[in-house]
Symmetry: C2
Subunit: 655 residues, 2 copies
């Protein structure tokens, strides 16, 4: 017979603690100002009452510096409490429970009294329990409470409550994991990204754009309503095997090359491309952007051109082939001789990891707090786990966006490891069924705890067929979908607002004359620019908290497969947004929309108002079923603010 466990008197069981990922291996994510709703199953053997508390540690708190809050019983042995998340960083939390002898005794005493049975002995037992509580009050230095608890004459609920401040927790049970929640700043949850190539911002086509030109572009970006300006790599570009326009092998002397072929004689990942400016110019850009409420996001592409200084300084960080040359990037039979991947299996992998960490820290030092990480899925998962955790331990305001367009489990793993936001399949989800299924998966399953989607209708790598063939209506529709299905979204501009839609060749998703390979000049003042619509959409996002989260996304039925309709609303339903988008970019479509009024807190028997945030018109609806119609020649989407009318008068004014 083996020995009994250490303390067989820990009678409370705690299980199914939520939120929780993979048995506590990963942290869930929230943003500052959120309340973390913690729930657990807790119960004891027999019929005794129990008490359950959630215990938590603020970021960086010492092991014993915890807070506790009482949990409330929801029924079916499920308990709940909320933790207010007020600081950036990693909170830890767990649950503790114990048998409440005093409360059990009090409950049974009431039953006995009601039944008229003799309670002399029960009174004596209660006195013992209260005396013990008085002793604990005394040990805690609370003399007044001790004295009150020792006064047996007035035994009532208030005395019991006092006694419960000094519970007997000798045999309390602590849940067997301590869980974590990463608390990010609000922009992790709600952000609008604008990507541009700095070299294409020069008003003079013959001159390479500079950080100064980007500063001049800031007002435009702010007018459009974006709050993150994301720049592709700003570093020196390699010369060996440099690609020419449209990805041709062998660049001309004046071809600027691909920004992702990082590193040249002028430096590597911490250097700035000389034609863009100097470090001071970059810092000025960060400052000027900040004045306009815009943050600069940098591209982190952990790879090197053959001219990167590390190729000679740290040859061990690259894979040597049997002939002594360095292994370039490949996707057989395709070869990318202008790119050397780092060898993460090198014997000096710790040195490589540290150097890459230093790159991030360098740019943090230059004022950057958002990094868009290129192809994170081609570097070891353990590397990101360590890098993000280490950087955020020092800088909890730093955010990472994962540019992983790969298999779902790989993308989700990266998010679990700490990426603050993630690119999605949105770009390739176009039908009503595809969009509904995908955003239901993203917002209704466990993914909501750790995967924050960032939806892009286009990127420099992806000009989807619907944009190639769908005309203006497709751009409008995809913009509204991205910006309202997902609280984080972005566009690659000015290609997007200027309706750039010609592929490099048929069946390609590459842009013709892509900025990846050449400098472009854009006419931002073109009359057909989508700028005005973009500004309206971003304004709606800023004015309507319903659009600032992916919680409570709800698809409503329309009896036409080309029309998709969904709402988002705040928890208190004071703000409700209804989006209706025509996915047929060539023909008008109409149908009956069945709105779930009850779930939205809208009346079934009174009119409610819809104000279209894209054109300012308004209308009244009554009842769940209403006809909707969209003609792509005029507009691709409605974006309604829905509200119940507050009075008869308001209704009459309407009429």
């Amino acid at each position: 017979m083996k020995a009994p466990p250490e303390d067989g008197r820990r009678r409370v069981v705690i299980e199914s603690l939520s939120p929780q990922l993979d048995g506590g291996r990963f942290a869930v994510k929230r943003t500052v100002g959120d309340k973390l709703v913690v729930e657990a199953d807790a119960f004891a053997d027999g019929h005794d009452e129990i008490r359950v508390v959630v215990r938590w540690w603020e970021p960086g708190a010492a092991r014993k510096a915890w807070h506790e809050a009482e949990m409330a019983l929801l029924g079916n042995d499920r308990w709940r409490a909320e933790i207010a998340l007020e600081h950036l960083g990693r909170y830890r939390y767990t649950v503790v429970g114990w048998v409440d002898g005093l409360r059990s005794w009090w409950r049974d005493l009431a039953k006995r009294t009601a039944a008229g049975t003799d309670t002399d002995i029960d009174q004596a037992i209660g006195a013992q329990l209260l005396e013990a509580a008085a002793g604990r009050a005394d040990s805690a230095g609370k003399r007044d409470d001790r004295d009150r608890l020792s006064d047996r004459d007035r035994l009532d609920e208030s005395l019991l409550e006092l006694a419960e401040r000094y519970p007997d927790r000798e045999h309390e049970s602590v849940y067997d994991h301590v869980l974590e929640v990463i608390v990010d700043r609000r922009r992790a949850r709600f952000s609008a990204w604008y990507e541009l190539f700095p070299r294409s911002t020069s008003p003079d086509p013959s001159r390479h754009g500079t950080f100064g030109d980007v500063v001049d572009r800031l007002d435009y970006v702010a007018r459009l309503g974006f709050d993150v300006l994301y720049l592709p790599p700003i570093h020196p570009i390699g010369r060996q095997f440099r690609k020419g326009p449209n990805n041709v092998v062998g660049a001309g002397v004046d071809d600027p090359g691909v920004p992702w072929a990082i590193g040249g004689a002028e430096g590597g990942h911490s250097a700035i491309h000389p034609q863009l400016g100097r470090p001071a110019d970059f810092r000025r850009l960060v400052r000027e952007a900040g004045k306009r409420g815009i943050e600069i996001a940098l591209d982190i592409a952990f790879q090197a051109s053959p001219d990167h200084p590390w190729v000679t300084e740290h040859p061990s960080w690259f894979l040597a082939r049997p002939d002594g040359t360095i292994q370039y990037a490949e996707n057989p039979p395709k070869k990318y001789q202008d790119i050397y991947p780092f060898d993460f299996e090198s014997d000096d992998w710790p040195g490589l990891w540290r150097a890459l960490n230093e790159v991030i820290r360098h740019w943090i030092g230059e004022g950057v707090r958002i990094f868009r990480v290129d192809n994170p899925h081609t570097k070891p998962f353990g590397f990101w786990d360590w890098l993000i955790g280490d950087v955020q331990a020092d800088y909890p305001d730093v955010l990472f966006l994962a540019e992983a367009f790969t298999r779902p489990k790989v993308m989700y793993r990266l998010a679990k490891l700490g990426f603050s936001q993630s690119y999605t399949y949105f770009t390739w989800r176009n039908t009503k069924r595809e969009l509904t299924d995908y955003f239901t998966e993203l917002t209704q399953t466990q993914l909501r705890e750790f995967f924050r989607p960032n939806a892009w209708p286009n990127t420099p790598d992806i000009l989807h067929e619907v944009l190639q063939t769908g005309g203006r209506a497709a751009f409008e529709a995809r913009l509204v979908l991205a910006a309202t299905l997902s609280a984080n979204y972005g566009i690659y501009g000015p290609a997007f607002e200027l309706l750039e839609h010609t592929p490099r060749e048929p069946d390609s998703e590459e842009y013709l004359d892509s900025e990846k390979y050449q400098q472009r000049t854009w006419d931002l003042e073109r009359r057909d620019s989508l700028g005005e619509l973009i500004a309206l959409v971003n304004r709606a996002r800023h004015e309507h908290p319903a659009l600032q989260t992916n919680e409570r996304l709800w698809f409503h039925a329309v009896d036409n497969e080309q029309l998709i309709a969904y709402t988002k609303n705040t928890a208190d339903r004071s703000d409700i947004i209804l989006a209706i988008v025509n996915l047929d970019y060539h023909r008008p479509q109409a149908g009956a929309l069945e709105l779930g009024l009850d779930g939205l807190g809208l009346p079934a028997d009174a009119p409610y108002e819809l104000v279209d945030l894209l054109d300012g018109t308004s209308r009244l609806w009554q009842g769940p079923r209403n006809r909707v119609e969209l003609d792509p020649a005029r507009r691709a989407a409605h974006l309604y603010h829905v509200r119940r009318l507050r009075s008869e008068r308001e209704f009459e004014e309407y009429a």
Copy 2:
């Protein structure tokens, strides 16, 4: 910057390993002969091929004495393998994966060759990889394999397969938990229980029944088809506060008392009631039962009468009240002065735990291998965790049935802690909706991994209203439901087969003149006994493997709420049982049954045969929709063996 982890080159990620309970805290359950299907998500960064194996340890195996088997990719980064469970006890298992450089190289070489690109360097890289494999073969003492791997002239798939027997696993990843599966004997999954009071087995009403009388009853129990004979406590019964017939306070001199008031001058939990016999008589009963394929299950009720020897020998195991008396059992305002609960919070709790463990071991020594545990939910969960684990470590063939009729999470926790079988809410689930919902929960959710239901239509404590008022049809229906919905079931007899249905008072679930309080004599030869039907049902269970598991329970639609229909089938669908039960015990009911032919492997366009195992009649059906009808005055249920006709001839013979 904190240091990188120990080995940043473990590139394979392993997650979502199944089966798994609560992050590995609890074992799942299987029975000998089962295959454990293990699945996991596994993937690496980048595009390299990986290999994944399941690693397992047989019961009691040393830490390094593991087995491994290759897992196969199912798609979407999900891998699967099966482990054959051949031994009793606890198997452990986990998953290991590594990047397969050789296979990755081979794949890329094929692509390059197909594209006609130069492969000189690739050949050289491959030679290095093969040479390394040859080195590992050499280290393993496999000279022949080493030589074959060093022969670069014949590079083909078979050489690659040879090389893969010597993989480079230096940086393999091991899943971060080792999981467990309890492998029980088959009776844990498939058993038919018969409960009787030994004292009521005497043919002479004036004489107390003996173990000898029980031996005489064994042929009857075997004829009915049961394989577990469960006896309420067989120990001396206390005298103080002994209850009389129908639970009256104050027993007469000759009243035998309640068997659960355990302990008297003659001894406690290891003693035998003198009127039942001596230890040798008990051992004979166990032996005689065994000859008939019947196991004796003992009742374990961890509580004492005031006359139990421990009350004086170990007063610290009981709770003393302020007046010096011992706390008896209570459910305020009800008092059970004939029962003393043990005080599991006593300072000598380890002594109490050990003594209770010794009780189990005593009866194991007497030949008992099945224990039905009374009210386990009123003893600490940690106690059962320790007790069951400790006993099964020495006796992996011992089974425990939890008699916990309490809140669902408490019942499920007990099952997770190790109880082999569990009583259920079946007794109170009577409508089609209730039965469908409950058995769907039990068989389709995670519960299937650890909670083995044991369904009882009646117990000495529960005479449900449907049996009080439903007449013979209710008994028939509840029998068929229990025996076919659940692979483990039981009845309390002879009360059940003799249709005992009078409650002690209106609205009570207690039996009038319950055997709990008095000796009864039963006329087993009564013409209205259900014995014949019970024997047919148990025979069907033994002859049809579909009924020997709760896997693949499937409810089919009937357009009549009083008719419930469901199938069970073997994995290969060679055995299919269809049960149809009329839940209206007073009126005939008919309806159209919609059978899911496709899922059962039955033809939609040819007839199939149904043989009723309860009356031997047969019929042909064709297509999914067929009319069913049951008249409770004649019979309450069909129990069909369903099979496809094997040939035209068989069909013609039928016609």
